[in-house]
């Protein structure tokens, strides 16, 4: 009950933010500009993939930074005091932030993927099985990277004492961790999309678990 309420609230707060507007409109636009600037990426790198990768890499970093900065600011301005003196579990706050941003980014990724597929269809005919398959792999990879970035953003937000430290950790820590799901594609393991998602979920769970542990112990 409390979680759903906070999740809906956070979703409302994040989807109205400038960062989300940039992710939902700006990033697909950037992808289109990239396509117009370099239209001949060839069948091995369909535009669908370019678009999905752009959203997951830039979007993941932005989401991670946004989450960390939001949590640090809300901690220092004592926003959580009014929540923590009410009968709710602290993990509700942490997970509602994570899922609201993650859902916003999933929507941005799907929008970018659909735009990419539309452009591929328009410029090269109907998407082939190969293109569709690689698009789904791109989506799996992108969503896994975003999941890890968002979880890292939450952990950094909970643990960092200041915005500056938080942003530095996001850039030099969160970003590095979020590329781990690339490994199955690089190592050519069988069923890489599944392994990628599995790695993404596992790392995110660990990061979120640590974040919840720290937040539960924190004295405000």
């Amino acid at each position: 009950m409390s979680f759903l309420l906070l999740f809906k609230d956070e979703l409302l707060g994040f989807y109205k933010s400038k960062v989300m507007i940039f992710l939902w409109i700006g990033l697909p636009l950037l992808a289109v500009i990239f396509h117009l600037w370099a239209p001949n990426t060839g069948p091995q790198l369909p535009f669908t993939m370019v678009s999905a990768l752009l959203v997951s890499s830039i979007g993941g970093t932005l989401a991670s930074a946004m989450l960390a900065v939001t949590i640090i600011n809300e901690k220092t301005s004592r926003v959580y005091d009014l929540f923590l003196i009410r009968p709710l579990k602290r993990w509700n706050i942490v997970l509602s932030k994570f899922f609201s941003v993650y859902i916003c980014l999933v929507i941005a990724s799907i929008l970018a993927l659909l735009l990419g597929m539309a452009i591929d269809t328009f410029s090269t005919g109907l998407p082939s099985g190969v293109v569709l398959n690689s698009s789904l792999q791109s989506l799996a990879l992108g969503l896994s990277m975003i999941m890890i970035s968002s979880a890292a953003g939450v952990l950094i937000g909970v643990g960092s004492p200041s915005v500056l430290v938080g942003v530095i950790l996001v850039i030099y820590g969160g970003n590095q961790i979020s590329v781990i799901p690339l490994l199955p594609s690089m190592l050519a393991v069988p069923n890489p999309a599944f392994i990628t998602v599995l790695i993404g979920v596992a790392i995110s769970c660990v990061l979120l678990g640590i974040a919840i542990f720290l937040f539960n112990r924190k004295q405000f």
């Binding site: 004592r78 005091d81 009014l82 929540f83 923590l84 003196i85 009968p87 405000f220």
Partner: protein
């Protein structure tokens, strides 16, 4: 406030101690508040007032000692306690994208209010605090004083049994301060216990039924204002207000045991007695003399230390529990 025998202990602190590394923020603080009490918690900056409050509401954990609210121990029964608590922090802050209505709706729901009850309650509270016109404004558009009042609104939403207010009157204009003090008195009449800290001693004196003086983590004294004042010797001064401005009072100078007479206003004088004079004996003598002189007396009273003076005595080390 006179308590009936049925009055219950709502808040009990026993030997609460809190240390931040080398700093002893609270040292063995104990007190009990009953239903309907208005407890004014005073002390200089850094005395430990906010630390005490944060321990009571569960934002900080006490190092030693125990806290119980409504019979529930903290922090073990935090969920039960949180249903009884209303809290206004010293620095109240909301997520800036929220409107007043949105913030109150979310916080009210988290406190367990049902949707239909919540709507009525938000209207009631906003109307009580003269905030109805800002209901759909964003928090970021409000002034500091208005945000403070929205903070009070969220603390009152769910009819808390224990209302904890950390410096509630600091950012408010005189009208709002008066209004909040009246609300506090009304809540107390209905059985709500109010714990509030303040630097504005006149406000504490206006509303508090019990006062606690905290200094450097030690609870120096706790009791009614009269009890606190009684700890200090009465001043050897008598204030006399006459109904007409007549200079005949100057003849009081000739009386024994009068050190000097200070004219504070055209019809108001302050008689300073000598150190060995007894105030209680002097009042009838002065009254008799003034009547003989043909003065019309409006009031005559011995001066006692006020809360400011009592506070300074405790903070400077003049008093102890």
């Amino acid at each position: 406030m006179i308590k009936s025998k049925e009055s219950k202990n709502l808040l009990v602190l026993e030997g609460v101690t809190k240390r931040f590394k080398d700093l002893l923020a609270l040292d063995n603080v104990s007190f009990t508040l009953q239903e309907g009490d208005i407890f004014g918690y005073i002390g200089p900056n850094g005395a430990g007032k906010t630390t005490t409050i944060k321990i009571i509401v569960g934002l900080l954990r006490q190092g030693q000692g125990s806290v119980s609210i409504g019979g529930y121990p903290m922090p073990e029964k935090k969920d039960e306690v949180n249903k009884l608590l209303g809290y206004l922090p010293q620095q109240v802050s909301f997520q800036q994208w929220r409107t007043v209505n949105h913030a109150l709706t979310t916080l009210g729901k988290l406190s367990g209010l049902k949707k239909n009850e919540l709507e009525t309650r938000i209207q009631e509270i906003l109307s009580l605090l003269n905030l109805s016109e800002v209901r759909f404004k964003k928090i970021v558009e409000l002034s500091g004083g208005t945000i403070q009042k929205v903070g009070l609104a969220q603390a009152l939403l769910h009819h808390p049994k224990l209302l904890i207010l950390d410096e509630p009157l600091g950012g408010l204009d005189p009208t709002s301060r008066y209004q909040v003090k009246e609300i506090v008195k009304d809540l107390s009449k209905n059985g709500t216990t109010i714990f509030f800290s303040s630097h504005i001693l006149s406000d504490v004196q206006d509303v508090a039924t019990t006062i606690g003086v905290l200094n450097q983590g030690h609870l120096m004294q706790i009791g009614t204002l009269d009890k606190l004042i009684a700890q200090f010797p009465r001043k050897n001064q008598i204030e006399i207000v006459l109904s007409k401005d007549s200079r005949k009072w100057t003849e009081l100078q000739s009386m024994k045991q009068i050190q000097k007479i200070e004219e504070q206003a055209p019809n108001k004088i302050l008689v300073h007695l000598q150190n060995n004079a007894d105030v209680d004996e002097m009042i009838p003598q002065l009254t008799q003399k003034l009547i003989t002189l043909g003065c019309q007396i409006r009031s005559i009273r011995p001066l006692s230390p006020n809360l400011d003076e009592v506070y300074l005595q405790y903070v400077k080390g003049g008093g102890s529990l």
